[in-house]
Amino acid sequence: MIKITNLEKFYRTEEVETVALNKLNLEINTGEFVAIMGPSGCGKSTLLNILGLLDDPDGGSYLFNGTEVAHFNERKRADLRKHNIGFVFQSFNLIDELTVFENVELPLIYTGVNSADRKQRVEEVLTKMQIMHRRNHYPQQLSGGQQQRVAIARAVVNKPKLILADEPTGNLDSSNGNEVMELLTDLNEQGTTIIMVTHSEHDARYSHRIVRLLDGHTVVENIMM
């Protein structure tokens, strides 16, 4: 599904140039659950942002389902994103002014799904995430675990092929964290490819494979048994 070759990304300030990704090579197959680990500043988040087409690389190639997307323009990237990729963030990033239902509905609005279908699909996914009873609440009225379940519901409502999760349990206690990991595992088992950045060895154990980064390149890949 994903093949990146010699991927490069630099951050420049007036005086220093920092190499975030240094000729990185990585391949991820459809249906995989991959965890990306490494110390702070090793380039994990940069990699995830490039994979999610939120950021563009300075060099190298990025094939998504066989298409070169490294130099897509904003319109093409947005289009690819909304049909193929779901995001889960550490800090949930739910919109405070929208209810649970409306937050989850948002991606469907951007892909142009009609109102009746939207209702059905949002209710379906909320039921699956066991958060249906909270559909008319606002994010501030929910616990952290509940908020992350809403965020996951929003990420999957468009049935993306790929979910990118950036430390999805980072703001949660261990029992809520485990629930979220179970949810991601379930989604993966139903066929969604998942790439997750994490600091937690415990969470990483849910994945099929751990990619460890150091100074912008892969140092080791562990295959989970």
Binding site: L54, E74, K82, F89, I95, D96, E97, L98, L106, Y110
Partner: protein, 788 residues
């Protein structure tokens, strides 16, 4: 999608009530002011342009050289209109109109004062004043026909179905109502209660006024379509010279009626502008007030930006394009503009009666007019887009990666673009404050001017009915009953400069010079009644000096021009008579108190122009008692007419009305801009205090006092205000310097005005900010640090 945008717009308005209030209320005030000014501008621009034939209607002007200066004026000789019509086939209609005059009307014992003028019968063919009843062809055709307005018909008759009814004018002239006019719009120069046929002038005064040398009426001409104005003007240029057998040297030209109201001021033969300048000025002011209100919106929306940053990030991650986000935020600002527009419309409606009174208009909101509705919608859209474009671009440019990571940099409330906006707002506010002060000083300056005669306890009665016949009896009775200590019968009152003439000659006057003198005539006791200050000589007094029938007085300016060693005793040629100067008095203000004094001639009894009785009330008696006695005298000798005694000092104050209006408007706009700007500043300060809670906490823990912190925050806001004062000073100076050039009697612009204006703005800004900065400074640092 649309619904989603609206939902989030309403909810974010609701969740920040304070900011929403400042945003909507500030914008509403700006929009209300703009709506009022727009109504006024629309009214001005449409002034006398509603006539169907307006593109073919022209006003006749005279021009002539006076002391090397080409002067242009609009009063023309009475035979001009008929001559133009007769001699030039291009002329479709030529209509003479004289000046509005007061008349007493009477119908079946009911008496009413009414204003009317005389016009040629084609008046109603040329101008678009539709008749409610009557026939356009015949309503002014007969000498005894009169056309009255709908409104006046109701007043006098109680209804408008009055064609054919008989009324009496001035207790003397019988007229038949030939037509009833639909009420005229307020923006026309022809507003009146009635229009009488031109022949009425002959009925009153005989044919004497029909001379080519007497310029006292206005002439309007309608040319056939496709007539070339330049060629036509060339052809008619010498018409007065020809008909007067070279006695007059005034050249005639036509000027388009549609431009005349807004651009009718000439200087030395060249068009210099006119009312268009004030219309432009007000348009600029309206734009600035709206801009200032929009700037509030921009400042607050961007300052609050990080509240929306997360939403922007999420929407981008989900697949929204920047354009879609720009659209969303613009929709939001248009929505807010719509709410503000509704509120602004309401505010404008409530303020309209006061505004009308202030600027002496009768503006109304034409709610059912399609153009008005389209205008309001367009106005809301433009305001929304203007206010929303910068915030929309700013907010939609947030980097999704950064905001979703929580790494979005919180900006301080006063970074550069916002500072620029605050500086713009306050620059305008300071200009308005300084201008208001200078306008008030100019009015005060002219009011304090020595006007050369004593106004208190001086009243006047214009002639009507039998006053002319009984004038000497009235004068004697006023003195005998003790109502007056002095009485002077004159050709005009002391308020309206009614006549001037360049037919004034004296020995030693350089040949070929043409100098205009203001002139009045009196039967005597002029200086005594007006309490003029004599520089040399004495008052005209035919009782004591029988030769005073051809005596005259001149003012100091005239004496200077005539350059006699000893003016008293010299002779002046005027109106075919020789007048001997018996006194020179100190100039008095007859025209505008803002203008330089003209040379003036007061001719003695031989002139025999009598139109006004001036009465110096006996100062030893209570005014009410004197008035009662005076009224009784007029009732006795002129019983058919109501007594109208006018106080000179009250009438004189009206000469300041226009300047006072400008001053009041400038004051209102100054308060409004300061208020709107401070609303925005208040919001910014609140935001800044909130976003710097942690910094303030740390500073306090490290030993900063409440005063230190307050000063720190206040200083940050004072800097742009100070810059505004620096920028505003030259702008205000230029604007006010140019305004003052309109007046030859004008005050100096003094430095302290700028200091006062600047300090006022800074004090107000400081007070606005201090509430927020003190609140932030006294907050418990432990709390603010823990909250991070």
């Amino acid at each position: 999608m649309f619904k989603n945008y609206l939902t989030i717009a309403f909810r974010s308005l609701k969740s920040n009530l304070g900011f929403s209030f400042i945003n909507i209320f500030g914008l509403a005030m700006g929009m209300a002011a703009t709506i009022l000014i727009a109504l006024w501008v629309n009214n001005e621009v449409g002034y006398d342009r509603f006539h169907q034939n307006v593109n073919q209607i022209y006003v006749a002007f005279n021009k002539s050289l006076f002391e090397g200066e080409m002067r242009i004026w609009r009063s023309t000789p009475s035979p001009l209109g008929p001559a133009l019509k007769q001699e030039f086939p291009e002329v479709k209609y030529a209509v003479r109109v004289d000046y509005l005059a007061k008349h007493l009307t009477e119908y079946q014992g009911k008496k009413l004062q009414a204003n009317g003028y005389n016009a040629d019968p084609d008046f109603f063919r040329m101008f678009s004043f539709p008749l409610l009843s009557g026939n356009i062809g015949s309503c002014l055709a007969s000498n005894d026909h009169l056309v009255i307005t709908e409104n006046f018909a109701r007043k006098l008759f109680g209804n408008t179905n009055v064609v054919g009814k008989l009324i009496k004018l001035d207790n003397k002239y019988d007229f038949m109502i030939g037509g009833v006019l639909k009420d005229m719009p307020a923006n026309t120069r022809f507003t009146a209660d009635f229009i009488a046929p031109w022949a009425f002038l002959q009925r009153q005064y005989g044919p004497d006024r029909l001379q080519w040398g007497n310029n006292s009426i206005r002439t309007y001409v309608q040319l056939l379509p496709n007539t070339n104005l330049e060629n036509f003007n060339h052809k008619i240029s010498d018409i007065t010279i020809r008909h007067s057998n070279n006695e007059e040297d005034n050249r005639v030209f036509l000027y388009p009626m549609k431009d005349y109201y807004l651009q009718g001021v000439f200087k030395d033969g060249k068009l210099e502008g006119g009312r268009i300048e004030i219309v432009r000025l007000f348009t600029v002011v309206a734009c600035f007030i709206l801009l200032i209100a929009c700037i509030n919106f921009m400042n607050l929306s961007t300052a609050r930006g990080d509240k929306r940053a997360k939403e922007v990030g999420v929407r981008k991650a989900i697949g929204a394009l920047k354009q879609a986000l720009v659209g969303q935020f613009l929709l939001e600002s248009v929505l807010i503009a719509a709410m503000a527009g509704a509120l602004g419309l309401l505010a404008a409606q409530l303020a309209l009666p006061y505004f009308n009174r202030l600027i002496q208009t009768q503006l109304a909101m034409p709610y059912t007019n399609g153009w008005f509705i389209a205008g309001v919608i367009g106005f809301i859209l433009i305001t929304g887009l203007l206010a929303g474009c910068y915030p929309a671009l700013y907010l939609s440019s947030f980097k999704a990666v950064a905001v979703l990571k929580g790494a979005h940099r919180k900006v301080s409330a006063l970074i550069t673009p916002r500072k620029v906006l605050v500086v713009t707002q306050f620059t305008f506010a300071v200009v308005m404050i300084i201008s208001t002060i200078i306008i008030r000083r100019q009015i005060q300056y002219a009011q304090d001017r020595d006007n050369g005669f004593e106004q208190g306890s001086l009243v006047y009665v214009p002639f009507s009915g039998d006053i002319d016949k009984n004038k000497q009896l009235i004068k004697a009775d006023l003195l005998n009953t003790g109502a007056a200590s002095a009485v002077s019968i004159t050709s005009a009152d002391m308020i309206v400069a009614q006549s001037n003439s360049w037919d004034v000659n004296w020995q030693g006057k350089p040949a070929g010079t043409k100098i205009t003198f203001d002139r009045m005539a009196t039967l005597g006791d002029f200086g005594k009644t007006m309490k003029l200050k004599f520089i040399s000589g004495r008052d005209i007094d035919p009782q004591t000096y029988p030769t005073d029938s051809t005596a005259c007085l001149i003012n100091e300016s005239a004496a200077r021009i005539m350059n006699f060693k000893q003016a008293v005793g010299q002779l002046i040629d005027h109106e075919g008579l020789k007048w001997h100067i018996v006194g020179v008095f100190k100039d008095f203000v007859w025209r505008s108190p803002f203008e330089a004094m003209n040379p003036m001639l007061i001719a003695g009894p031989k002139m025999d122009w009598n139109d006004c009785i001036n009465i110096r009330l006996d100062p030893s008696q209570p005014i009410s008692a004197s008035l009662q006695k005076a009224e009784a005298v007029f009732k006795k000798y002129n019983p058919a007419f109501p007594v109208t005694l006018s106080f000179v000092d009250q009438e004189y104050q009206r000469k300041f009305a226009e300047q006072q209006r400008t001053g009041k408007l400038a004051g209102i706009f100054a308060v409004l801009t300061i208020l709107i700007s401070c609303l925005g500043l208040f919001g910014l300060a609140a935001y800044m205090a909130a976003s710097r809670t942690k910094e303030i906490g740390v500073r306090k823990v490290l030993g900063a006092s409440v005063a230190n912190v307050t000063a720190m925050i206040s200083k940050e806001f004072l800097k742009p205000i100070l810059l505004s004062v620096v920028l505003a000073t030259p702008i205000a100076w230029i604007v006010m310097y140019r305004w003052l050039q309109n007046y030859s009697y004008r005050t100096q612009i003094e430095w302290w005005v700028f200091v006062t204006g600047g300090l006022t703005a800074m004090m107000i800004a400081l007070l606005t900010v201090s509430y927020q900065s003190v609140k932030a400074a006294v907050a418990n640092p432990v709390k603010s640090l823990r909250s991070e």
